[in-house]
Symmetry: C3
Subunit: 311 residues, 3 copies
């Protein structure tokens, strides 16, 4: 592995998921691997789980970890040829090359604008670092992808499935804020690579990027879609076609215990209780969101391990 | 010890103070104890001493330390059953369980509102973490208590006392801002458990919570109260009965060298010079505030040690 | 070495530069030296390179590192005898003594006001820490000096020079913001101590403090000054005589490839592209700014090493 900013960076998904689960049972076994190696974590946006789990993953591998909230430094410039006489103090060309000398791996969190579709889809922040850095880049959630989350999700399904080919449904859920498509995008891509019966349900107008969903079945009827599901993954996202718009806040789409039947409930967190999903689900044994969050550590750790082995 | 959020969490106070003082003379002797263990420090409020001393304490024990300013993440919800369609993005139920998977001990600083007495006394932040976290919680100052400070204070008195039962006086002092009762509350509880001649002095209206002060003598005349004191602990706090009010800024209550006579001067810091206490005191040999601050490290370290031994 | 806040703190500059270059080839050789030692890094101002390189330097030496953005704590008071009834919560007398108990070395970044010349030249922040701290102080850029940068600059010249006595020119360059004189001040002092043919060029009115430039030649004609230069160091600074003023934004002073001829291009970064220097320079082999930034790690490391050896 040379970088991990999208699902396609993984050679063999089933294999890496098994390795991640093995790592979880003995997290310190590769502590020598990261000796004298530094992970620089750059946050352009806020974080709780990602910050703590990725930091823990790196330390489990014996790495030094440095966390920098980029807002504590200054604005970076991304345009080629820019005359930098305004609000940007340093070009990403310099920043990426310089930071590559202080870290052996650079992890980056950078959210989308959700206003400028072309800009968001260009992934200009993470792609600039990929282009100019001289060390591997890890996405801690970019404008359009959250591959570490998808890895943790896949681990959780692998750990908990009770049949060879479980039925997994990704369902849109209501929310009061405009949220990115990064998590569903990466989850969809991950599921397309696993031996699961996978489908998506959401109100009309909430279709994800069709280049991502491809042949994955979409059902606009949530009740039908959830029927006999083994895993239900709930997540809000804003409209992709009417980019950044909230088309519905219909709380009929909120996940409830009765809708779930016997399915396990998944969510990447943070989750708004009684908006996205009712308390009765989260407080029940069917919720596996805490286990998902725990797997974030080992998802990050297997990625860092693969990258370290390649340095 | 299962947690350390109040003085009552300690079984034997004199014993733990002695152990803390021993630790100070050889801080790295238990470095193996914290190996592969992580302390997550969550700051809802600003910190200097607590941040640096607690981090140092954990590293002295060989722990990994992760510091998260919660304001760099997002607002947490504390209400049961809340419909989270406003400004809170994650319920403490999830947050506490999730963070428990990334840290072996969670330390929390969360100040009171000083406006809503019932809310402050509920200690809803730290108590929510105690309730939902699956690892031990340490208070780095909560709405109504600062038990690590009180431990450092007790160590300082133990180290410096020249008689078996020294006279210790807690005196209110003026200040320009509305300050919490956390430090005096914990100091009072700590003194009630030591072999000291303890009393409190403050202007009328500044009585601390009577459930805390209990039988401890209160004298409204500072001069009388300070007479023949061995240790004078100065601290401002706002009114408890007229909750959050400043009833007096009378600088006659400022501590001066002449008032102290031969007593040692104590304060938890930060201290406003020439408002709470005059320069002549802080710049004299009688001030032990720097030693108190140093003891913060070993107070935190003995607490972390006890918690690690119990994991 | 007892501290490192100005070039004059170094006994033998050529020797320490050689040692720093040696360190670079084997950065972990003195890892035992920093064991159980803590570097406390205090940031009063934003940082990227300095933060990451100094942290890395300390870890290369086996030290613990603690980073505190002072703005996450509170305002410090620096005036002797101040009645602290306004916006400052703690006097530097206490802060410096207290932090000295949590760190074995304290590194500080504190920028000038660029409004009050006397205040800036007093270096009240860093000098207060030097005065009251009981451990060595390292400047990570103060109001008037950036000695770690100058050390990295000198290393870079030593590594790249192709003649015994290279011609080095410091040139002012345009910028849209009011910038400090710290970097040029320290660079001038450093060059005055090396075997280089050193001169300065800038528009009239941009003379640096004459107590610093002393006998160093100043040429107001950039073209003439740059002729046959081996190293051209570009940097903007505001006027010293008309303190804090921008007297010129003349982009004729911008560095271009043709102006450079065969000289190496140096800059401390961050650099505004096409304002200070054109893309063609930074994107060419003649630019050594990335190497300079890398040397920041080893500049910091040799300083920390000298200080640790003296503890």
């Amino acid at each position: 592995m040379k970088k991990y900013t999208e699902i396609a960076d993984i050679n063999s998904i089933p294999e890496i998921i098994k390795e991640a689960i093995q790592l979880k049972s003995n997290p310190f076994q590769f502590e020598a691997l990261g000796k004298h190696r530094t992970l620089v974590m750059l946050f352009f946006n806020s974080s709780l789980r990602t910050r703590l789990s990725t930091e823990k993953a790196a330390k489990n591998l014996g790495m030094y970890v440095t966390v920098l909230n980029v807002n504590d430094a200054w604005n970076l410039e991304y345009e080629n040829g820019a005359i930098m006489n305004l609000n940007t103090a340093e070009h990403v060309k310099e920043a990426a090359q310089v930071i590559s000398q202080y870290g052996d791996i650079i992890a980056i969190r950078a959210f989308p604008t959700l206003k400028d579709k072309a800009k968001d889809e260009s992934e200009y922040i993470i792609n600039s670092f990929i282009k100019y850095a001289t060390v591997p880049i890890v996405s801690m959630e970019s404008a359009t992808a959250h591959p570490l989350q998808a890895m943790a999700d896949a681990m959780t399904i692998e750990e908990l499935k009770t049949k060879k080919r479980p039925k997994v449904v990704l369902t849109w859920a209501p929310h009061t804020k405009v949220l990115p498509q990064a998590v569903p995008n990466s989850f969809v891509k991950m599921m397309q690579n696993l031996d699961v019966d996978f489908s998506i349900t959401h109100p009309k107008g909430y279709e994800l990027n069709p280049e991502i969903t491809k042949e994955t079945p979409i059902n606009y009827n949530q009740d039908e879609a959830l029927k006999d599901a083994d895993f239900v993954y709930a997540k809000n996202w804003c409209s992709y076609s009417e980019y950044g718009q909230i088309l519905s806040t219909d709380n009929q789409w909120m996940l409830t215990k009765s809708k779930l039947s016997k399915a396990k409930f998944m969510h990447c967190l943070p989750v708004r209780r009684n908006v996205v999903v009712e308390d009765a689900v989260l407080d029940s044994e069917q919720s596996v969101v805490i286990q998902q969050a725990n797997n974030r550590t080992y998802a990050a750790q297997i990625v860092l391990k693969k990258l370290l082995e390649n340095l």
